[in-house]
Symmetry: C2
Subunit: 201 residues, 2 copies
């Protein structure tokens, strides 16, 4: 069995949590880091990433990420070419991280934009003084990139930095495997469960 | 021109630096964050990422990243399927980030492993007590993933958090565009230049 060759991953996996508990652990990481790295794929196969801050606030069961973005930027060409994207969050202080694997859906719908727009965002667009590109919520450059996840994996540090160092050191001595945290997966079925909570029938 | 529709990116771009200066700025980010998110692509097109710490130390002009990894893990199947990968680094404190877009090359070469191996890594492999998988540098699970970049982009915060907030607020008022940092690109040609510095003819 392949898993037995990777005791680090096997030991870190925690499958004894409810979907709600796993979502709470995920949201703690995202909210502590605030900004994720959105990875997209260009037509020649290259993967590019850049920092993006998801629009807030999160509802308690929300797993879809939404980003307000300028559709003149390259990432839109890449999403048009291949809608598979990844959004990762890494916390420098705790070393906790999260990976959202999913599909990007671009929306220019007025209601969707209004839902995610905040005036502070104007600074990222600028007023081009042509009467059209004003950097307000009616600016035609504004689009929403929704990332609909198909699988989310995250690793949450369960010990502080001293505890992590000790566990690693002890493991090296005892020849056991270090796992100073937990690896958790929110499956496609669990994600679909949360989407049903948010849709009208 | 598309660029003029994206004044944030245009203002943030800094092309007035030598390759060496750009590499130094990049290394500061990588060394402050220590751990990157490696994104790979599965056969069904999904992009997955996970935290990986590149092997140290960096030489002054080094742009290739090397990771010691367990070849029983899923990322190897993904790299076999598509060698295009991304490695991103995000600094929670400064919001600086870096994106390495490149190809992964897997090596099981003894000399390459010895170059990157350190005893502390044993804890991540564990001794399976079969006399073969001992978690030492001869363990057949150990592989090196080298990421050969084709383009590196990074954003470095040039103002502290207070300065960033002020610039954003002032820009919102004056309707100019906020750029509290610099966006820098290390091109394919510049990367090749550094590779020639490290190869014998």
């Amino acid at each position: 069995m392949v898993t037995s060759l990777d005791p680090y991953t096997a030991k870190a996996e925690n499958n004894d949590l409810t979907p709600q508990q796993k979502i709470e652990g995920l949201h703690e990481i995202v909210q502590s880091v605030k900004t994720g790295m959105l990875t997209t794929r260009s037509a020649d196969g290259h993967l590019h990433s850049r920092a993006m801050m998801p629009s807030a606030p999160f509802s308690g069961t929300q797993l879809v990420l939404a980003f307000v973005a300028n559709n003149a930027s390259h990432k839109f060409e890449e999403i048009d070419n291949d809608s598979h994207v990844n959004v990762s969050f890494f916390n420098t202080d705790t070393t906790s991280w999260a990976s959202y694997s999913g599909r990007a859906k671009v929306s220019r719908d007025k209601e969707t934009i209004a839902k995610h727009w905040s005036t502070g965002l104007s600074a990222y667009f600028g007023d081009l003084e042509d009467g059209v590109h004003k950097g307000d919520e009616n600016d035609p450059r504004i689009s929403i990139i929704e990332v609909i996840p198909e699988e989310i994996r995250y690793w949450v540090a369960t010990k502080g930095s001293v505890g992590r160092a000790i566990e690693t050191a002890v493991s090296a001595v005892t020849k056991n495997c270090a796992a100073p945290g937990e690896l958790r997966t929110i499956s496609k079925a669990e994600i679909q469960l949360t989407q049903r909570l948010q849709s009208t029938s």
